[in-house]
Symmetry: C2
Subunit: 390 residues, 2 copies
Amino acid sequence: MRFAKRVENIQVSAIKRMPLLAREVPGAVSLGQGIPSVATPAYIRRKVSEWLETDPAIGKYSLQPGVPALKSAVAGVLAGKAGREVDGESEVFIAAGAMEALFTALVSLVDQDDEVLLFDPGYASHIEQVLFSGGRPVFVPLSEETDWSLDEGALRRAVTPRTKVIVVCNPLNPTGKVFSAAELQCIVAVAREYDLAIIADETYDFLVYDGRPFPSLLSFPEIRDRLISCYSFSKQFAMTGWRVGYMYAPPSVIDQALKVHDAAVICAPTISQYAALAALTARPDDEADIKAILQRRRDLLLSRLDRLQDLFSYVAPQGAYYVFPRYRKTQLTSEMFALRLLHEARVITIPGSAFGPSGEDHIRLSYGAAEEEIDEAFDRIELWNAKLND
Amino acid sequence: MRFAKRVENIQVSAIKRMPLLAREVPGAVSLGQGIPSVATPAYIRRKVSEWLETDPAIGKYSLQPGVPALKSAVAGVLAGKAGREVDGESEVFIAAGAMEALFTALVSLVDQDDEVLLFDPGYASHIEQVLFSGGRPVFVPLSEETDWSLDEGALRRAVTPRTKVIVVCNPLNPTGKVFSAAELQCIVAVAREYDLAIIADETYDFLVYDGRPFPSLLSFPEIRDRLISCYSFSKQFAMTGWRVGYMYAPPSVIDQALKVHDAAVICAPTISQYAALAALTARPDDEADIKAILQRRRDLLLSRLDRLQDLFSYVAPQGAYYVFPRYRKTQLTSEMFALRLLHEARVITIPGSAFGPSGEDHIRLSYGAAEEEIDEAFDRIELWNAKLND
């Protein structure tokens, strides 16, 4: 069969390919895909089980923009984030994960050969979504030397008459970089100057460490008419498998996105929307704080990296749950480096090249894994590294 | 914001617009969207609740092609349908509903200006998915006079050098037409003669009435390398809201489709995959037969239509749970007819124009609704019709 150009131009992201390859490596420990080791909290699962018994609507299509009670709860959350009223009816839709929200946003905006600015390194799937749309990803490198800071000159030089969108993932997967208010201000200015839309992926907004503030693009009212913000329940509530997230955007964008949503999945899974509603409304006061857990894991992982200074250098992540160390000592491509780690050390990591041109010579490590797994993975990497010295 | 052509070219299908409009009509009775009135069976919900307590994997991403146990169960079902071995590893992927399977199939095959043959009237979302892909829907009218039979001449005349795909929805939504083995043979011959791919939507394959056989495109081994078959759990197991279905296709197609699946939703909702596994493996012997229930509802709905012969004529559906009556007496467009039924009779129906050019002057009625609802809806339509006579 002859396939469409749009699929020939994309690939399954390495984030997903590595776990598939890892099936052939028994006992591999994963620092790969961003799955928190913790189960979906019991209070959410209990509530879902209760509704499964009592509410037949849980098994049926929801209205296509989402379950009304969830849309209204989400509007409340957004109002808190944005510091203004949010209309759950016209400005929000519930997606099958933040990924579907991002997908609908990009395919709704990007025409053939339109250019999309992506910070580099950045989240692999944004690249694939731009290519799927027929657009051209234009990479804006961040400066590793200065903790992945924004280079305004590089951003401005990347703009052309074909530029249509800037994607801002903040905190940024894979580096854990958090854009400062000043950096966001610069992005906002460029977007206004050149009339660009901004697609914000703020999946990890709840995960910023060391008491650092999280400046959201929602706090810039001057871009309200050009901002599409995408959020997830996956990471904050350990709900990766439920596939539920949401988009907040001007009504005209929601109207377009819903057409794609309808043609692609009809509605977000209803049971997952109920679970999301439980996550937002039924949280007990004594529920464990996932951020405190992940801060401990980050600190552990960084201390283990510190013991491997002959192999790795890194910029400490400020948010999310990834670190993106650069490796030394070897000329291996990041793809080969990750494959050898998988087969020789039995540790799953993601090759940096998946995250854009500046990702080469790095690997992404997730500290979603439990502390014992992080320790076990690093014990294995240390042994492997010792042999690499030979 | 300037939107991409692909979204400006599509619309939310009327199947979804009508329920949204109906929110403003309190007490409206629905013969609209194809939602079986029954709840997801208790044996499935019980099993899911059990797993929610015992298996933390139920809340996490699955491998992207699907939960292995479900893929293997699905391969078993397909082997039964196709009468040959099916490799669950390479020939199957679990989608977020048959809709996502169809979406990935079409966007993986259809390039800008490629032509796709669609039987008319046919399922509204196929049209939107073709337009989304930049393709041109080419409608092949079926003959209402002869029970929506295939007109081989019309099919052949529709083929051009740009034709790439034939979509075959069987049983066909909205008419309930079931293609005969002879008709499928004709479609198969045309596909082979002109080297076309066939995308089969066999969502309703389990719902064929009056002891009539269901001839599946799976029973034509000569098209195995050009056939993409999509299936749903939504209707057979009253699981519309769970968003889980699957694609069966040659491995090269699965490979392409998985790239889209990854970029759009990452994986099908894991909890829904577990529910689908329960549906296939845990069914008690005394579980009510949804087909018997729907056959009774169909017979009721047709008997009510028979009492409205001054308003409607119809072809009795052979499968699925829709009937597609033609209305008389009025020059209203089907859109206006459905809107007046909604506002004046408080009955939700779907305008026929959503299903292609031959759909005009018809409405689609679903008999997924309970018998009391069907009766109530027709009581209202009879009253409305009496006034229409005035």
